[in-house]
């Protein structure tokens, strides 16, 4: 199936950044356009690996242009590629750009063609509108092919030394009878060495010129003059000059290439590490801390990240080595960070907004919103390479935060689906199991109303009605707890409660159902407090005691024991009944599990009680488990967080 490219819906303006001073006009035009169409504005800078590094003046222009774009509210993007036009086209396609603003001269330079460049670009991008601005002085936008670096004595010294050594060696060779051609190759080697050992092409050129002159002076007839008699010499000089210029420029290029490659490799490595670490980070906090760590490694100063929650800055993640962290949280720093959040623009040190702060604040943008605000302490000025790296890391951070949010949303949907499933199961089980006791109650009552039951059997019918209604009451209590759990799924009403009070409450409520069983209570400390939602824990105790009564023979013993276990309070309910088989132990806490071997005269439960216990205890952050009692029977254990109370009288 062929994919069809759909026209993008939202307006998105792209301006291309170049180191030209005229570029400011392009950026301004882009900003005006973006405002007019209420569009997103992106500033793209394409760095070409083949190009030489920019001279100081142009680098400054580039930085100025980048910060101008940032001020205009543009998102800065950097891309790498030899073919600038292709990079722009690719970026425009993936970012769904609708309008591109370019300087005419830049377009001509990019497409290396003076014939209808706009038309070519328009054909490459059928869905984007193209705006070309006339620029004067197109030569200024051209990058110089090579850079003529300022003169240094050190390089000049190296050059002279090489020349002197070569000449001396040449004189020696001449004495030994070598031809002039061999000596000439020696000079070409010297030019090559000079170009290799010095910075920039100036010395290479100078060296070739001097070599020719020296060669002429020392080795051609007439010697020790700058005259040449042989008609072949001019050609020799020319070849030598061309050869030396060529080698020198090649060497210079190779050096530049190596430097660019090294920077590129460094950038790739930093971003790769950042991206890998951010992907491994779990949760927003870790992502922010990891980003802060990366930024810190890059800029040497402190780095902090304020997460944005409901459009408000919350507790920041900080990464710093020095101890003066407090001064990063002054009201002014905070105000700068908040300004960045509100305006989605850079602020703080190095900008015109809150320039007095220690940090520069940048927005971390995710999908359509500011996800966080990063503060970078500027202990030194950052060059454009480091700045673009910072922006790229923040971009990674924004992506990671977006992903995190999407993950959380997906998780909550899954959870909701599970809860829905549980609710559906519950309803089915209830409607099925309610019928039995209701049939018994209505049938028995009907029989009694007809008056057809002999006196001696009436009592049994009354007893049945009573038992069934008690069963229904217990069921309703558990169901109520389940709805309570649902309501408070986010937060339980946890309060420090006196353990002995809660146990007393449970015992009072179960008193009528104890029958012939004997319940013994052992509480290590009457004043023991535990954090709990009391009605829910009473329900847990009721269910455990109820089970212990229901599933053990009459006249057996049940022990409820409570003791401290470090920071926890451990409750155990043990009986000396027949115990639970290992196979069943794995399932007792599952919902709708009922023991198949239950005694025949007890109505089977819904399999809700223990599942509810587990849900309640885990919501409290505790644990519940079952084990064997010695010599026989079972022990149910659960733990709760201990609570402390400070009395001051």
């Amino acid at each position: 199936m062929r994919s069809v490219e759909l026209p993008p819906r939202e307006e998105h303006v792209l301006v291309c950044i170049s180191p030209s001073p005229n570029n400011a006009r392009v950026i301004e035009a882009g900003a005006v356009l973006a405002r007019a169409f209420d569009a997103k504005l992106t500033a793209l800078y394409v760095e070409s690996p083949s190009s030489a590094p920019l001279p100081v003046k142009q680098a400054r222009h580039l930085e100025e242009n980048l910060s101008l774009a940032e001020k205009a509210g543009a998102q800065i993007a950097t891309s790498y590629g030899a073919n600038i036009a292709l990079q722009i086209v690719e970026f425009a396609k993936t970012a769904r750009v609708t309008k591109i603003v370019l300087g005419r001269a830049a377009v001509e330079g990019i497409l290396r063609s003076r014939q209808d460049p706009a038309g070519r670009l328009a054909r490459l991008l059928p869905y984007a509108e193209l705006f070309l601005l006339p620029e004067d002085g197109s030569a200024q936008t051209r990058k110089p092919r090579a850079r003529l670096k300022s003169f240094t004595w050190r390089s000049f010294g190296i050059e002279l030394a090489i020349l002197v050594v070569t000449t001396l060696f040449g004189l020696l060779l001449r004495k030994l009878g070598f031809t002039e051609a061999s000596i000439m190759t020696l000079y070409i080697l010297a030019v090559l060495l000079t170009a290799f050992l010095t910075d920039g092409m100036l010395y290479g050129l100078l060296s070739s010129l001097l070599s020719v002159l020296t060669f002429n002076y020392f080795f051609t007839e007439p010697r020790f003059t700058l005259l040449a008699y042989d008609p072949g010499y001019p050609l020799t000089f020319l070849v030598m000059l061309v050869a030396s210029i060529l080698t020198s420029s090649l060497t210079a290029k190779a050096r530049q290439q190596a430097k660019v490659n090294a920077e590129k490799a460094y950038r790739t490595e930093v971003l790769l590490t950042a991206s890998r670490n951010l992907q491994q980070a779990e949760g927003t906090d870790e992502i922010l801390l990891e980003t802060a760590r990366q930024l810190h490694a890059l800029v040497d100063g402190a780095a902090l990240l304020y997460p944005v929650e409901n459009s408000v800055l919350s507790q920041p993640a900080l990464f710093t080595v020095d101890r003066t962290a407090d001064s990063l949280f002054t009201p002014e720093e905070r105000a700068a960070a908040e300004w960045t959040l509100a305006n989605n623009k850079r602020s703080g040190a190095g900008t015109t907004v809150f320039p007095g702060t220690r940090c520069q604040y940048l927005a971390v943008r995710g999908h359509g919103a500011v996800r966080a605000v990063a503060g970078i302490e500027l202990v030194r000025a950052l060059d454009s390479f480091e700045q673009s790296l910072c922006l790229a890391i923040l971009g990674e951070c924004g992506l990671a935060l977006d992903k995190q949010q999407a993950d959380e949303a997906r998780q909550s949907i899954t959870l909701k689906a599970q809860q829905e499933q549980l609710r559906a199961n519950l309803l089915r089980a209830i409607s099925h199991d309610l019928r039995t006791p209701l049939t018994s109650i209505s049938g028995n009552a009907d029989m009694l109303l007809r008056g057809a039951v002999p006196q001696e059997e009436q009592h049994q019918l009354y007893a049945n009605i009573y038992e069934d209604s008690i069963w229904l009451i217990n069921l309703v209590e558990n169901l109520l707890s389940i709805t309570r759990m649902d309501d408070s799924a986010i937060r339980l009403n946890l309060k420090p409660e006196l353990v002995s009070d809660v146990i007393e409450s449970a015992l009072t409520r179960i008193a009528r159902r104890v029958g012939t069983h004997e319940i013994r209570v052992e509480i290590e400390n009457d004043l023991l407090l535990a954090n709990m939602d009391a009605p829910l824990i009473v329900q847990v105790l009721l269910n455990l005691l109820e089970n212990a009564i229901k599933y053990t023979p009459e006249k057996t013993h049940i022990v409820l024991d409570v003791r401290m276990d470090g920071e926890r309070v451990r409750f155990t309910v043990s009986d000396d009944g027949s115990g639970i088989s290992d196979e069943n132990k794995q399932h007792v806490f599952d919902m709708f599990f009922t023991s198949a071997g239950a005694r025949g005269d007890t109505r089977r439960g819904l399999g809700l009680g223990l599942a509810l216990c587990r849900a309640i205890i885990s919501a409290h952050g505790g644990e519940i488990s079952v084990s064997d009692n010695i010599p026989h029977g079972s022990v149910f254990t659960f733990t709760l967080q201990k609570a402390e109370v400070h009395l001051d009288e």
């Binding site: 209604s469 009451i473 209590e477 109520l480 309570r484 309060k495 420090p496 409660e497 006196l498 002995s500 009070d501 809660v502 007393e504 409450s505 009528r512 009457d526 004043l527 407090l529 009391a534 009605p535 009473v538 609570a643 109370v645 400070h646 009395l647 009288e649």
Partner: protein, 235 residues
């Protein structure tokens, strides 16, 4: 003394019948009404000794009825609630109700609550606790003037807060007092979330008073509050 007169306010017929039958079995006199309006009129005209009040009435809010009744009468009010949530019971207790029952309740429970309420009526008739300088409940004796507490002949030493708690419960013997009310009365200007300390003080108070008495004096209502029980004379 005449057989006590009990006012039943309940709109659900089977429950009204059940309560009615239960009371009949104990030979209590009774009036049964279905609405809040009728309850107010009946309580004014017939002056019952106890009111059993369902909180979910069709015409008037149960808490409103309690407030109206409390304007002129101290008769014990037992509220009956069908909601499992504690907040409506606490609201009713704070409005002046004495006790509460949660549906479904058993006949035994209902009768026990009525007996507690009747003992409270009797106590209030015999002692005008505000003017008395000595409070007696079974073997427990509080001498308000001297600030001493005795069980039998033996003096019990209480901390100031424990003593204040005991006095507050004694003045309201038979009545369930909510955590909020106790905190307000005893701690006065502390934050209302100080319930954990209340729990601990109540536990230490019980530890000091109950062993010499040999029986339970203070009932704990988890999530709601506390009540001092009227100890029967023979024990």
């Amino acid at each position: 003394m005449n057989k006590p007169l009990i006012l039943i306010v309940e709109d659900d017929k089977p429950i009204r019948n059940l309560i009615s039958l239960t009371l009949e079995s104990q030979q209590y006199r009774q009036i049964a009404v279905e609405t809040g309006g009728a309850a107010v009129i009946a309580s004014l005209s017939q002056k019952p000794d106890i009111m059993i009040l369902d909180l979910g009435l069709p015409d008037l809010d149960g808490v409103e009825i309690i407030k109206k009744t409390r304007a002129w009468s101290q008769m014990p009010i037992i509220v009956v609630s069908s909601r499992s949530d504690d907040s409506d019971k606490i609201e009713a207790l704070d409005a002046g109700a004495d006790d509460y029952l949660t549906k479904p309740f058993s006949v035994d429970e209902l009768l026990a609550r009525i007996r507690v309420a009747l003992r409270r009526v009797q106590f209030m008739q015999e002692h005008n606790s505000l003017n008395e300088s000595v409070f007696e409940n079974g073997a427990l004796q509080i001498d308000f003037a001297a600030g001493c507490v005795f069980v039998g002949k033996e003096e019990i030493h209480l901390s100031p807060i424990e003593y204040k708690l005991l006095c507050l419960l004694a003045h309201n013997v038979g009545k369930v007092l909510t955590h909020n009310l106790i905190l307000k009365e005893v701690w006065q200007n502390t934050l209302p979330n100080d319930t954990p300390s209340l729990r601990v003080y109540m536990a230490t108070l019980r530890k000091k008073v109950e062993p010499p008495l040999g029986q339970k004096l203070i009932q704990t209502h988890v999530g709601i509050g506390y009540r001092m029980m009227r100890l029967s004379e023979e024990q």
